[in-house]
Symmetry: C2
Subunit: 177 residues, 2 copies
């Protein structure tokens, strides 16, 4: 595979989804990518809830709409919620660091894998940063004390245009030694 | 691109590199993938130090060899160090959360992008969890207070075999609603 950078460019935050439903198998492939992700000591500190029944999708969408600019969330066709699970590190490592030391980074990696696999299948994704965590726990029978990793909205993009990415300049953030 | 899952399977922790040097341009493509990574509020809370001069590579390798089982690090041909930088979040979000709230996950995502781009180019990678941070800072003129995101060893794998991944079973960690 030589075009991974093309996939990186194609994956972008999608804030508006078409009416087209998302196939179950495509969502399953997304979480399969999440499952395969690397993690510190291979601890795999995650589990995934895939929300695809449209009634529940609407209710989860409403949990992410406290911010006015998130009204587009009502067009999402599915959600994948990544939960943080207890990490069991190798004995050699766990004498140096706390069990969850790598977990946030590992979950960031799994979230990236999920979004990239979605893009590879033509799906749009947006990672939601602000949401009513307590309400989502109630709706999905998630224990109230569970740490959330990420909440990802999915669907087919209503606009297929790939925008140019706004990023800091390469020379400003990379140093070769 | 339909074979992203194949790339996920091909990317694995590599703990033994061949004598073949790594091309500068390939390393540049890896950090370009890191630069393109998504982040909360597009804050891009990272910078990258690419270590490719072989004298410095040896010195950095020695900083990761406190653990006996990491002696293979001496075969690494390059390192990419991802540093955590201050994140400027959007005003709407920053009234809810701390500036670095998303940073660990964002850096986990950028590390994943780097490792995947390396794999796409035939390079092996291993993310090092334990190292002498203070010594690395001295060697690379990194301010002592800087938070490290990740330290990635790179090179051409001495063994091209793709191992079967050991992961928790799909049905044990995925729930569809």
């Amino acid at each position: 595979m030589n075009d991974f950078l093309e996939l990186c460019k194609a994956r972008q935050s999608c804030r508006g989804f078409s009416e087209q439903p998302v196939e179950h198998d495509k969502l399953a492939r997304c979480v399969e990518a999440g499952r395969l992700t690397h993690s510190g000591c291979n601890a795999q500190p995650w589990s995934f809830v895939v929300v695809e029944s449209q009634n529940m999708v609407s209710q989860i969408a409403s949990c992410g709409q406290q911010l006015k600019q998130n009204s587009w969330l009502g067009t999402a066709k599915a959600f994948i919620i990544v939960l943080e699970e207890h990490a069991i590190l190798s004995p050699t490592i766990s004498c140096f660091i706390d069990s969850q030391y790598f977990a946030k980074g590992d979950i960031g990696a799994a979230t990236a894998y999920i979004c990239l696999e979605a893009a590879a299948q033509g799906l749009g994704t947006c990672i939601i940063g602000i949401y009513d965590r307590k309400k989502i726990c109630e709706l999905l029978n998630i224990p109230a004390e569970k740490q959330f990793g990420s909440v990802i909205a999915l669907g087919y993009p209503s606009n297929a245009l790939i925008r140019e990415k706004k990023r800091k300049a390469f020379e400003d953030i990379v140093r070769f030694v």
